[in-house]
């Protein structure tokens, strides 16, 4: 026991100390001689060989310094060797070891650590201890493995099961430190989430770090609420820290039920180390002694980790408690007062202590109670805004009755088909209304913005209001159609946001293709914006040049499907010939003017005979060769199916930063352009974290933490799920990037991470009604057995008849 106290003290002292002293103490710098001496003495050493100090390295050194004391407690010397002063062979010689620290044990190199995995004191301590303890701490991936471990431990050792949401965190460190102390007493197991967590009843998508205690040592005769195969388990409810884990483990050692013969008021409050734990008293009568003990044991299991249970024998003369009470409790630190209760069910005790816990784990409670909360981000947002109804004044509400007249009245009717219970519909409805208001404000005439509530006008949405409508039945919600009189309906297939809808509508107002009949018209088509509302949007333009009207069918068809996405123009006859001659293209031709190029440098496509083929060519030509990825345009680039060479740049604070970013992008551009063939396999692209903040979490999950910017990452390789990070702090220069790509292909680079699994199982457990029925009404949901069935056919009718005839004595019933 004394030893325990020391440990606690030690742990506690250290956690208070480390931050104060870190800045003042110097990291021990070993000379080569020191290093060899310590090495040969067989001591455990954690050494970094310093070459040159970059900002990242100096950050690391500060953290390393902080870990000196922490690791000292576990017998690990921490220090660095300055290679600039003297060389320690191999470790100082190799440049790539710049990013590595080493653990020595028994006179040999034991393990090396990439600095990426040991970025602060917590990760250093946890990783080093993990390495030392790696034979003792088991990793478990599946429930079957866990079961095997439980079987092996049964009757011998209890198991401490830890889940940390990520390695190198304070929680990870706490488990490692505790494992170091208790490693021989308990079997420590780390789990990696997934199926094991499910077994433990954790169903959240991103659970927090947790610890469970598996009572495997108790002999099987013990009354447990669990199935016989598994060890009963207790979840640690307090947030994970070294101290809380320590006291939790001690509490697990406490006797389950203590029998006392004193009145609760004279029972001593819990002694060290349980002084922070509440006591619960139940009373036992001689007549029901065994039953009472069973009840107490059951409750004790449920209270384990929360409170200590004492069973008071009423027959003892010392017990003064009134008979009307059947339970009592005493809270820690709240004087010695005992509160008496009359309970109707054991659950009331649980409620009592669960409430006590509530403040501490409110967040957790919320997570667990996921039945009353919406787990779908769009549904939740819509639900939260349910109070603020959109003002529908700016849109026309179409019905089965007014549809035809309303559509006939307007040159362009934009129709949103929605379902009011569909969250996505409702999220989009407000954007739709916003566009309607914007159009009204800017006095864009001849566009009628309208909505159809398909939960009401079901026949209209099914395209069967009794007379013909210009669209097919709507089966996907929300859907937006653009209806020009006398034209087939046009589906809006863009992002369901106000900006892209606005852009689409404004572009759709322009004829597609526009027939250009003078050079001035061509000039204005290429240079001017057709409507002030379109200013500020990036406009792609496509022009078809044909000798004769008769050749234009495919182009016209393609232009129709481009309506809303791009501006299309058509030149024929002499004008086309003249223009072609001026620009040295052969007729027929299709010129594509992507917004990111200027009109003087169009792409020239051969005019194909099929509209589909032409569309493919046009769409390919419109893609930027080195795009800035945004939330909006990512899908069109992912369609290419290429590996992504992804440059992340941060937001610039000043002109210099801006210039740097530009230079970077330019460098990448050079790479793409100069190494055409090699680069063909990759899509070089960049994400500006200022404009696309969503990119930040992407980068975070690629490299495990937030690296310094800019960062270059290679991912989505057709060959596998590996993610490679271009060495940080290495200048991004076309030639070295190219070499790096080569090394990746040769397999000499090690990946920094993996793309996550592609399977998307349900994130939440469904509510299994069958199970509930089987529990509450065991046979009601079971198939009948064949024998019964024979009789079953007529049973009902017979019963009625039998009842009637057998009911002789009742007046009015049988005569």
């Amino acid at each position: 026991m004394m030893w325990m106290c020391v440990t606690v003290f030690l742990l506690w002292m250290r956690s208070g100390r480390c931050t104060d002293k870190a800045n003042t103490s110097d990291l021990i710098e070993y000379t080569a001689a020191d290093f060899y001496e310590k090495l040969h003495s067989g001591k455990m050493m954690f050494i970094y060989f310093e070459h040159q100090v970059s900002p990242t390295i100096s950050l690391f050194l500060v953290e390393l310094e902080k870990s000196v004391e922490a690791l000292q407690d576990y017998g690990v010397l921490v220090g660095k060797v300055n290679c600039n002063k003297e060389l320690v062979y191999t470790y100082c010689a190799e440049e790539q070891l710049l990013h590595t620290a080493f653990l020595f044990r028994g006179g040999k190199e034991f393990l090396s650590f990439d600095l990426d995995t040991i970025f602060d004191v917590n990760s250093i301590v946890s990783e080093v201890l993990f390495a030392i303890l790696r034979d003792e701490i088991k990793y478990v991936h599946t429930d079957a493995d866990l079961l095997a471990m439980e079987k092996a431990a049964r009757g011998k050792k209890d198991i401490v099961l830890g889940y940390v949401c990520s390695l190198g965190t304070q929680e990870h460190r706490s488990i490692m430190e505790t494992a170091y102390v208790y490693g021989s007493k308990y079997q420590f197991i780390l789990i990696t989430g997934g199926p094991v967590l499910k077994h433990l009843g954790v169903n959240e998508s991103s659970p927090s770090s947790r610890v469970w205690f598996l009572h495997c040592r108790v002999h099987s005769g013990f009354m447990t609420p669990m199935t016989s195969e598994r060890c009963p388990l207790t979840r640690m409810r307090k947030p994970l820290s070294t101290l809380s884990l320590h006291s939790f483990l001690q509490l697990m050692e406490a006797p389950l039920v203590t029998e006392v013969y004193d009145d609760p008021s004279s029972v001593q409050p819990p002694q060290f180390p349980y002084q922070q734990t509440p006591q619960v008293f139940l009373f036992s009568h001689p007549a029901t002694e065994h039953l009472d003990l069973d009840t107490a044991t059951t409750l004790a299991w449920r209270l384990r980790g929360l409170a200590l249970l004492l069973l008071v024998h009423r027959q003892s003369p010392a017990v003064k408690t009134l008979d009307e009470y059947n339970a009592a409790y005493r809270l820690p630190e709240k004087s010695l007062e005992v509160k008496y209760l009359t309970l109707n069910s054991l659950d009331e005790v649980l409620v009592l202590f669960a409430d006590q816990e509530k403040d501490e784990e409110e967040e957790e409670e919320d997570e667990e109670d996921n039945e009353g909360k919406l787990d779908d981000e769009i549904a939740a947002a819509v639900f939260e805004n349910r109070g603020t109804l959109s003002d529908m004044d700016s849109v026309t509400q179409l019905t089965s009755d007014n549809f035809h007249s309303a559509v006939a009245q307007s040159g362009l009717t934009v129709v949103l088909f929605y379902l009011k219970w569909d969250a996505v519909s409702m999220a989009f409805l407000s954007s739709f209304i916003e566009v309607a208001e914007r159009l009204a404000d800017s006095e864009v005439n001849k566009v009628q913005m309208s909505v159809v509530d398909c939960s009401e006008w079901t026949d209209l949405c099914a395209a069967q209001p009794g007379s013909a409508v210009p669209f097919q039945p709507i089966t996907a919600f929300p859907s937006v159609l653009l209806l020009h009189p006398q034209h087939p309906a046009q589906h809006f297939r863009g992002m369901l946001g106000s900006e892209s809808l606005h852009r689409f509508i404004m572009i759709s107002r322009v004829a597609s293709p526009v027939r250009l009949s003078t050079l001035e018209e061509v000039q204005s088509f290429l240079l001017e914006v057709p409507h002030p509302e379109l200013a500020g949007y990036q406009l792609d333009r496509v022009v078809g040049l044909f000798e004769a009207q008769t050749q234009t069918a495919a182009f016209t068809e393609a232009a129709k499907s481009l309506r809303g996405d791009a501006l299309t123009g058509l030149l024929t006859d002499e004008l086309a010939e003249k223009w072609a001659a001026d620009h040295t293209v052969d007729l027929p031709a299709v010129l594509v003017f992507p917004s990111w190029r200027t009109h003087t440098h169009p792409f020239t496509l051969p005019a194909s005979s099929s509209a589909e083929e032409l569309l493919t060519h046009i769409n390919t030509a419109l893609l930027h060769p080195m795009p800035e990825l945004t939330v909006e345009n990512l899908p069109s680039f992912l369609l290419l199916g290429k590996a992504l060479l992804l440059l992340f740049v941060g937001e610039e604070e000043d002109k210099i930063g801006r210039r740097q970013n530009q230079a970077l992008v330019k460098e990448m551009r050079t790479l793409v352009e100069s190494e055409g063939e090699t680069m063909e396999r990759y899509l070089a692209c960049w994400i500006h974290l200022g404009r696309t903040p969503a990119g930040m979490s992407v980068l975070g999950s690629y490299v495990g933490s937030m690296p310094p910017l800019p960062a270059l990452v290679l991912t989505h390789l057709p060959s596998g799920d590996q993610i490679y990070q271009y060495p940080p702090n290495t200048p991004i220069v076309a030639s070295s990037v190219l070499h790096w790509l080569q090394r990746v292909e040769d397999g000499t680079e090690s990946p920094t991470g993996l793309l996550d699994e592609d399977s998307w199982p349900p994130a939440f457990e469904f509510y299994d009604f069958l199970k509930i029925m089987d529990m509450q009404e065991p046979d009601s949901a079971q198939q009948q057995t064949p024998k019964e069935e024979e009789e079953e056919v007529n049973v009902k009718e017979h019963v009625v008849v039998e009842d009637m005839t057998g009911d002789n004595r009742h007046a009015h019933s049988e005569l």
Binding site: L374, I378, V424, S431, T458, T475, Q784
Partner: protein, 681 residues
Amino acid sequence: MDPSLPSVILFILIGYVLSSFDNRHHNVTRRYDYCVLGAGPAGLQMGYFLSKARRNYVILERNSGPGSFFNKYPRHRKLISINKIYTGRGNREFNLRHDWNSLLSDKPDLLFKRVSDDFYPPADAFPQYLSLFVGELGLRVQYGVDVGRIRAVQSATGRHYILTDQHASDYTCSVLLVATGLWVPHTVDFVGADLVEGYESISTNPDDYKDQAVLILGKGNSAFETAQSILGRASRVHMLSSSPVRLAWQTHYVGDLRAVNNELIDTYQLKSLDGLAEARLEKIVIAQQKEEGKRRLGGKKKEKRKQLYLTLNKYMHSRNSFDATQEELPGHHIDNFPMRKPYDRVIRCLGFRFNFSIFDSSACPPNSENAKGRLPELTPWYEGKNTPGLFVLGTASHSRDYRSSAGGFVHGFRYTARAVHRLLEHRYHRNAWPSTQLLATHLQSWILKRVDEASGPYQMFEVLGDVILLRGSHCEYLEEFPLQALPQLSSLSGHDVSMHGLIVVVMQYGKKKIDYLGRSRAETEWTNAWKSNFLHPVLYYYKTLPSVEEMKLRPNGWPLPRPQAIHHIVEDFLTEWDAPISHIQPLRRFLEHCLQTDLRAFYAESCFHLSLTHRMPPLFCQQGYLKQQGIPRNSQLRQRVHDAGLTHTEQDVGTSDADSTFPNYLAPAGASVSSGLKLDL
């Protein structure tokens, strides 16, 4: 209407002799792919579907107009099928849930409300509506064709039905759709049955019952309707049948006693001379008291009506005579026998039975096991047992859901007629059961749409259900399939079940007997949805189609066998199952379980993240975002980003937008950027 049976038989005999001559004489080819027998609501409903599909069909009707049954019945001329015109909704499908008289068509205004705006419409309105229906849709009905004999003929080209009418003309039909309804009054054999008047011929003038004691046999709606009409004139009205009154509002079966007819329950319970009693009619005797010594020959009209006694078989010495001695009356044995006083009239109101007599043995479906054998026995897809190609529609098809659903009533069988037509289209014309293809991520909304508005499964609860064939990332949605035919789904519908299994959406009532007006009659907590008492949607998930055997052995009271997983959507006061927490989310989790995939919706930003950190993002992102239909988290229209800057790296003269710097519009976002650095480790 209602010619006596012997004359029909006579016609048949004569017709048979003359038939060959007759056919040649008329020189008309009467061959049809489809013959519909009867121009009542079911026949016309089927006629509409056949006409819409442009099939070679004819509707044969022996009377001169459609729906002639309703010219006579109900005798007191008030329909009890509700005609709810105002529902507060424009949803035509939903409104049909509360319109029990209209037939289905694609004409939105061809509804019953055009002929009557009474909630309980007059019976005359019904034939009037049917005439309208025939006229506006141009259905081919031949009136005055009284088919007296139906036989089946097996030939090289297949099985045909030959119908012979009163002129001995033959109609050869590949498929026969019998929609003759029920019109033969049902009788029970007991001594004294001849002393009893029938519902079909009683006077409907209440004054004819002045101060009379009346015994009504039967406790259905016609019995109560009769009782109600004479309540103000008769001295006492007693009602007798084997089972106690079943109240429609308790059993949810519209064929049971409707509250609109239940005034007699009131007067009974308030002890106002009326009463109800139970006895098996086979055991009763209606008797006249023998008047010894003063013998007179009875039966003359002007004479005072003889009083009728109710007694029991067991007290009668002679089994055949309805003249009873004092000892043969029950009062002699039990001095307080409830019905010891005599009646002036005994009226039989026992409903109707199917007319089996016109079917030759080659074409006659067997009698049903339920409904006292009054109906033909049918397969789950309404084909006669042992009579392939002969289907029974309308009220006569009620053996499939007798006393459990609405298949015997217009608002129910209009949907079963559609179901039969759909399978005819598949069986004979290879048109698969119509289906809607949906993306898996759109399925939930579609199910909600159906359960919130669909009328077919709502009326034909536990009989017709929507079937969803899962196909991975998409699914096929089949509407209103007969549930009992589920084992034969593939052959009947032309759709296969894939390895992903299927979901069946059924509307169900709770099966527990509860206090129907008591406090705990409704569930509101979704986790208790399986205890719902009112009509609510239930979803069954099967990995494979259940077998016929499994269907037979289904749990007691269930419409379908035990599935792999089941989901009840908790009953709703407004029958609007669209609450995000109580209805929608639990449904989504169930669908996720069936499809084994995350079906949550994500904003474009989340999809962006998930697409870059996974090879494939969740289904919603695949089917929306990756198709460039993402949902941006915030509407950005107001602070629209002028995309300039680095995208314009080609600096050409003449570019209107030559500014190559990064705009600083996002400066305030800087804070979130730096804090973001620590997130998402």
